[in-house]
Amino acid sequence: MEEFEIPKPPRVNYLNAEHGIKSWLLTKDHKRIAVLYLGGISFFFFIGSLYAMAIRLELLTPQGDLVQSSTYNKMFTQHGIIMVFFFLIPSIPATLGNFLVPMMIGAKDLAFPRINLLSWYIYIVGGAVTIYALLAGGVDTGWTFYVPYSTTFSNSYVVITGVGIFISGFSSILTGLNFIVTIHTMRAPGMTWYRLPLFIWSHYATSLIMILGTPVIAITLLLVAFERLAHIGIFDPAAGGDPVLFQHLFWFYSHPAVYIMVLPAMGVVSELIANFSRKNIFGYKFVAFSSLAIAVLGFLVWGHHMFVASQSVYAGMIFSFLSFAVAIPSAIKVFNWTATLYKSSISYDTPMLYALGFIGLFTIGGMTGLFLASLATDVHLSDTYFIVAHFHYIMVGGTLLAYLGGLHYWWPKISGRMYPEGWGRFSALIIFVGFNLTFSPQFVLGYMGMPRRYHTYPADLVSWQVLHVLSTAGASILGVGLLIPLVYLAWSLRYGRIAESNPWHLPGLEWQTSSPPPTENFITTPIVTQEAYEFVSPEHKQIVGRFERERPVEI
């Protein structure tokens, strides 16, 4: 048993190993790059939230009194672009993934450290180009850039924004490439595939999607730019082109993109659930292979965004069936997490609160997706607020919550400090309440017919205004709830309780080194001899029937 001693941060760790701005901007250390990404995505999240505020403020009243419709179009477009491409897609992989993937497999760094740094620079340059487009006047096509509006009729900065997104896509590709090669070739001795933490499995699956899907959006945006600048005619019916071709190309990436957003979150949740219930994950292999199944099936369902876009009904039926199929591995994960919680030793620390929130909210989001996967109901619900609510339940209620949970969970590892637990739990609750108040009215609004991307609605529909007011109130609460961690996490960097190597007392490999870790992660290369989430050592496991049961045994 370890003796209690006042923890002090290790004298030399990755944060103080080198000093000066150059040592950060030219670093090859995956942990420093993760911190650089943390700064970047926090910045973009903040900008994206400002646009969200503008949207919710406008919708408080039925009239279009805050902004003109053309401005409103820019608000929701830019909210979507920033949140999707510059926050959600990089969020967990680029911060937590970059930090933890090498550590969880016992490696000293990712396979290609300089490419890792390059990916951050590409992200920043892409973001800068996009911000420039916003400041120059913005883009109003919707984050989906549908043609012919984006290629022919819009008077906004479509090409520049497209270039910004095109550039940042390479950041995604390089991150995914790095993860795949690292996981294949750099696992520590004894770290077999089935001993990998589920965080790694989900990041592996995410990386597969990143490398296969992102190039397609790249070429799609390039085609839009060519069409717009040089009037090539590929999407122009007058020239023999087809506008629906754009939708196919766009959604071929953008549907898998949502799995890029959610798979890492599921990986985080697996870690949180297992570790904060002090129990091995139930059905490890099922969860691991579900990640792969989601990655594969996710590429086969893009047509469910096009049920009302003149796609053939027969194609629609196939896409509908496949969309139901892709829900199955997600459901398998939810069942396995629930089974993990059953009869376990749950501690309601902040990360666990976020994980539990994820399970509930992701389930709601996923199940509402089934209404959209069914052809008949989708016809009614397409382009309404039901869709908006559906994807926000998954992206905010799911990914954002998992991201915050992971950030809190690994905060001591990343910073060497504990966050204040009371404030953590408090803000988790505020965020949960605020989130639900924001988006649950939107399901009702959508069902009742409120279209998305409209800045006005009929003044005589009082019930609509009531729902919108509730939603905006919720958004304000959510906004406050999200500001609180910003404050106390920053506070903790200087005044937080100093964390020991393994503050949560967990078996994971990342906890077997100091907090914060040294630059090379492990003083000596670890040799792995046990499964992931091994809370009960093998000699205490009893074989009951055909299954291993973890049960303390009298020795």
């Binding site: 000293k108 396979a111 070739t185 750099m186 397609v216 790249a218 070429i219 023999g240």
Partner: protein, 251 residues
Amino acid sequence: MPEGLATTHDAATHSALQHHFENMEQQREAGTLGMWVFLVTEIMFFGGMFLAYTLYRYKYPEAFATASNHLDIRLGAVNTVVLIFSSFTMAMAVFYTQLGKRRNSIVCLVMTIVLGLTFLGIKAVEYRDKYVDNLIPGQLIPGHPFHPEVAKPGEEANQHKLHLVPGATVRNVELFFWIYFAMTGMHALHMIIGVGLLTVMTILAVRGRFGPEYHSPIEISGLYWHFVDIVWIFLFPLLYLLGRHLEGHMG
């Protein structure tokens, strides 16, 4: 200068071993896998354009046949042979590096570069011909819109005029040329990058960096070069060899 590379490094820690790898073998494996994964992304990138090509060829077969006939099959065929031969010299460069035959490997690398530049030169000639015939699509070149001369039916074969296959429209022919320029242009861009990459490799090889115990950068560059070659092998028949048997072909 004796053949082969006299290694001055201790076999235990090669100077090219990066700090985060355990040994050269792991580094080589990671680098190679990394290039393969990157090539997969390139396939997906080109794939979008192949999709567009497939769709529009299916919709407008006559226009595609017309335009394809108009391309200079001799230049295209020469380019194909040039690239295939360059893949051979590339493979030989890898082979010689593995054997430590430094001078041979440098010769092969330089030949690959020269062949690549030849390809690009011939491509430039082809592009210039299209420019002269006003076949650059859309308004890619401001002031020089797509405006080819169309041969009258029954007129003698003229390599500067479009001989429309019955059913083809000039607008759809423009669509072909847009796809032609997008795909060959993207391909040429990748070739330019490849030539740059090989130049760097040649310089390093001259400096004696590579040998039997460290040749993975040459191998990895070879993978990239072969990929660029394979893309052309798909592009050539799809763009140049359509409908050669149909009416209007130039003989």
